[in-house]
């Protein structure tokens, strides 16, 4: 199956190398969507060609010796064993080359460090394993998880074919939007372990370190959707916390922010919503899949020794632990993150209900948003 396709591609790679290179093979760094990313690309190419040139000279000389200075050709070995002149030359030339590389690199680095004069500030916070975004000037906060389709495909032995999803592992449920031609300052930090925020088209990545922020900037020049991934090992699902940035004109950006803010405010007050058991269960399952599954697994069995099983867990079945269950979700504990900020009352109610009734936890319990809202104040 795929092996054959691979073979065809290999042939085309060798035959049509230059064409194949840019088109579908993705052989090289991306030029990206900002002036900086273009400069990074240029410096990369400049360095690459210098390396190729040095390689041609050095390897050329070696191959020359291999062909002409071999015993089977009857040559007698020379006796020389040093020459101060050539040794000075081949110390000096690399120094010159290095200076030639260091000068543009220094200039570019200084430019990349200058975050002054930004008009929009975005704070990206890494969580195991999703990104939280705060638009600091707008007071807007949102979370961005791996999209559901990828989530299903990527389960071990899922039997689903990644080829069916073009943006497999590079799609999220909630992309972020940034304005084009605007200097955006992007702060990175983390809530738990180190992550790194990386969108190749912006020309850089930056670590997200708990307790510290880093800052960076970008002026995106082209509209479009730019995808990236977490680039610092952050545990089990490090490979599954992508980043999607939609770059749009300023006015569209403003509209988007307004809509998101409205939705966010609507979510804030859900304490009075009352749902039926079925509604709670379906909503709860959705929340569970999106947020909890990464650790506690689809079957609620957790991961031995790391994430406790919820199926059969005393916390999730004992009536006396009902409040404790809700509190565990709101406040977290040790490696269990706190979800009180991220989830609304009704969502927590739903997921609690779900957990108390799924995988054989047949408690029959029904938790409503009101109970969660009260639990927050206890």
């Amino acid at each position: 199956m795929k092996l054959k396709a691979l073979f065809n591609k290999l042939v085309s790679l060798f035959v049509l190398f230059p064409l194949a290179a840019q088109a579908e093979w993705g052989l090289n760094l991306r030029q990206g969507a900002t002036e900086i990313s273009q400069k990074v690309y240029d410096l990369h190419m400049f360095t690459l060609w210098i390396m190729v040139a040095i390689g041609i000279v050095v390897f050329g000389l070696i191959f020359w010796s291999i062909f002409y200075h071999r015993k089977s050709r009857g040559v007698k070995p020379a006796k020389f064993s040093h020459s101060t002149t050539v040794e000075i030359i081949w110390t000096a030339i690399p120094i010159i080359i290095i200076i030639a590389l260091a000068v543009p690199a220094t200039k570019l680095l200084i430019a990349m460090h200058d975050t002054s004069g930004s008009q929009v500030t975005l704070k990206a916070t890494g969580h195991q394993w999703k990104w939280q975004y705060d638009y600091l000037d707008e007071g807007l906060t949102l979370f961005s998880n791996l999209d559901e389709k990828s989530q299903e495909i990527r389960q071990l032995k899922s039997g689903l074919n990644p080829q069916d999803h073009e943006n497999y592992l590079l799609d999220v449920d909630q992309p972020i939007v940034l304005p084009i031609n605007t200097k955006v300052r992007i702060l990175t930090t983390s809530n738990d372990v180190n992550h790194a925020w990386w969108v190749p088209d912006l020309g850089w990545k930056r670590d997200a370190i708990p307790g510290f922020t880093n800052d960076n900037w970008a002026i995106i020049e082209k509209e479009g959707t730019y995808r990236g991934q977490c680039a610092e090992l952050c545990g089990k699902d490090h490979g599954f916390m992508p980043i999607v940035v939609k770059a749009v004109p300023m006015d569209e950006y403003k509209i988007w922010v307004a809509e998101m803010k409205a939705a966010q405010d609507a979510k804030k007050n859900t304490a009075n919503i009352v749902l039926t058991k079925e509604e709670l269960m379906t909503q709860g399952e959705a929340v569970y899949k999106k947020v909890c599954l990464a650790c506690h697994q689809a079957n609620g069995q957790g991961v031995q020794g790391v994430f406790p099983a919820l199926a059969g867990s005393a916390v999730a079945i004992d009536p006396a632990n009902r409040l404790g269950h809700i509190h565990r979700i709101i406040y977290g504990k040790n490696l269990m993150p706190a979800f009180g900020e991220q989830l609304s009352d009704v969502e927590i109610a739903a997921v609690t209900t779900y957990e108390r009734n799924a995988w054989g936890n047949n408690t029959g319990d029904e938790v409503q948003a009101k109970e969660v809202s009260e639990a927050r104040n206890k």
Binding site: L6, G26, R70, I98, L169, K205, D207, G239, G305
Partner: protein, 527 residues
């Protein structure tokens, strides 16, 4: 010729010979066998990695286990395969090369070996523990590594343990070289392999205790409430990275310098021409070692250092290309106008020079801070370090084994099979690692068990290369065992152009050599 050897050559027999040995040759053999075993253990883990990455989607292992495989693969390869192989060669060859009866501290020598199997028992046992083996990468960055389960203290103690072994080994080598040379073997007459090992030993003694300190702080952060790596208490997770890489960068030269030494022995032998620029080789090695202590932060350009720091580490990193270049050019000039033949050791040596240099080129690219912001933590880095480690250090070790195997066993290895092994290895390792450059540039992060479909083709090629490379190494084992069991008798001077004292003792080298200091002639001191 064999006047330099002991007449009644007696080796103790039985288990005791190996368990209680104080003989540098036996201990060297133990080291080499251990290293080869570990190469296969680490390689088997690499095969798990490559199998999982063969296609997109998760087929065989869950992500947590994948991360464990990556972590333990690296630790086993570095601390279990390449370092012990280097020490094994040092044990076998340094006394022979400098005319010493044994290592300076033979009992300690035995202890530095026996720690290894126990150390790895400690490390590998974590695979069976609650919460699994360490999965935070071989770099052990906090806070992630602090999430390790029961394996955590065993990881830390294994690092301590292996560190003790390496430090003892290094002290032994320094004492041997500075104290045990035969009269006439002045420092600037020593074979280059010996020089590179002395300098490596300094790196070991200066850097491993720092690693021990770093992991000790991890331990206290996890169990005793300290806050070295926790901002809430005034510490900084990045502080660990600084301390780790202060060890980690010299560590990569600990793996590379002995390889340089091997190549400097092998190339002159098969070019039948003296090593070009002996003195500058020594100085270049020393400069690399010194510089290696001031470049560490090039592994952490993306953590957000102040501009001045980034500039300093960028310049220092790029500067290392100069002394390394001197070495490459010297090897090139040694071949120039020689009369070369291409037996297996030479093939591996030439492949080393070319492929290591390719790895060095990508190293210089990584060293340029603004571009490293793109390369960092992608497969471009993975490609870089496997070029310098696998087609670099490991190829040099292969070269060394073929070069000295007849001296150790007394028999010639099967040259034809050796050449086949070389070509299989050289081709498959490039199929394995060259495409990873493209993957990295196209945006594939490292340490992920699954990837977008755009990376599928190159990953498949890479995996195929990986399996081919792995299978080819079975041939190597066959060749070595076959050679140990018998074959054509080897001459004392196995290779026509080989220089150095080791070729003046019989093949196989008797159990005891140079019990009284040899009288060195001018030819014996050539290199």
């Amino acid at each position: 010729m064999s006047t330099l050897a002991h007449e009644h050559d007696h080796a103790p027999s039985g288990l005791k010979r190996w368990l209680c040995s104080t003989n540098h040759k036996d201990i060297g053999t133990l080291y080499l066998i251990f290293a080869l075993t570990m190469f296969f253990v680490g390689g088997a883990m690499a095969m798990v990695i490559r199998a999982e990455l063969f296609e997109p989607g998760l087929q065989y292992v869950d992500p947590q286990f994948y991360n464990s495989m990556v972590t333990v693969h690296a630790l086993v390869m570095i601390f279990g395969a390449v370092m012990p192989a280097g020490v094994g060669l040092a044990n076998w060859m340094i006394p022979l090369m400098i005319g010493a009866p044994d290592m300076a501290l033979p009992r300690m020598n035995n202890m530095s070996f026996w720690i290894l199997p126990f150390g790895f028992a400690l490390l590998l046992s974590t695979l069976f523990m609650d919460g699994g083996a360490p999965a935070g990468g071989w770099t052990m960055y906090p806070p992630l590594v602090l999430q390790t389960g029961d394996a955590f203290p065993f990881l830390i103690f294994a690092v301590h343990f292996l560190g003790i072994s390496s430090i003892m080994g290094a002290i032994n080598i320094i004492a041997t070289v500075f104290n045990m040379r035969a009269p006439g073997m002045t420092l600037m007459k020593m074979p280059l392999f010996v020089w590179t090992w002395v300098i490596t030993s300094f790196l070991l003694i200066a850097s491993l205790p720092v690693l021990a300190g770093a992991v000790t702080m991890l331990l206290t952060d996890k169990y005793f409430g300290t806050s070295f790596f926790d901002a809430a208490g005034g510490g900084d997770p990045v502080m660990f990275q600084h301390i780790f890489w202060f060890f980690g960068h010299p560590e990569v030269y600990i793996l590379a310098l002995p390889a340089f030494g091997i190549i400097s022995q092998v190339i002159p032998a098969f070019a039948r021409k003296p090593l070009f620029g002996y003195a500058s080789m020594v100085y270049a090695t020393a400069s690399i070692a010194l510089l290696s202590f001031v470049v560490w932060a090039h592994h952490m350009f993306t953590v957000g250092m102040p501009l001045k720091g980034e500039l300093f580490f960028m310049y220092a990193t790029m500067l290392i290309a100069v002394p390394t270049g001197v070495k490459v050019f010297n090897w090139m000039a040694t071949m120039w106008r020689g009369a070369m033949t291409f037996e297996t050791p030479m093939l591996f040596a030439i492949a080393f020079v070319i492929l290591f240099t390719i790895g060095g080129f990508s190293g210089v690219m990584l060293g340029m801070t603004p571009v490293d912001f793109q390369y960092h933590d992608t497969y471009f880095v993975v490609a870089h370090f496997h070029y310098v480690l696998l087609t670099g250090a490991v190829f040099a070790l292969m070269s060394a084994v073929y070069y000295w195997l007849p001296k150790w066993t007394g028999y010639m290895y099967d040259e034809k099979l050796g050449k086949i092994h070389f070509w299989l290895s050289a081709i498959s390792s490039n199929v394995l690692f060259f495409p990873q450059h493209f993957l990295g540039l196209a945006g594939m992060p490292r340490r992920i068990p699954d990837y977008n479909i755009q990376f599928a083709d190159f990953n498949m090629i890479s995996s195929i290369g990986g399996f081919a490379y792995g299978l080819s190494q079975l041939l190597f084992v066959y060749i070595v065992i076959k050679c140990a069991l018998g074959g054509k008798k080897a001459k004392d001077r196995v290779w026509e152009g080989a220089k150095g004292l080791e070729w003046y003792v019989p093949s196989p080298a008797p159990h005891h050599t140079f019990e009284t200091p040899p009288k060195l002639t001018k030819e014996m001191l050539e290199h």
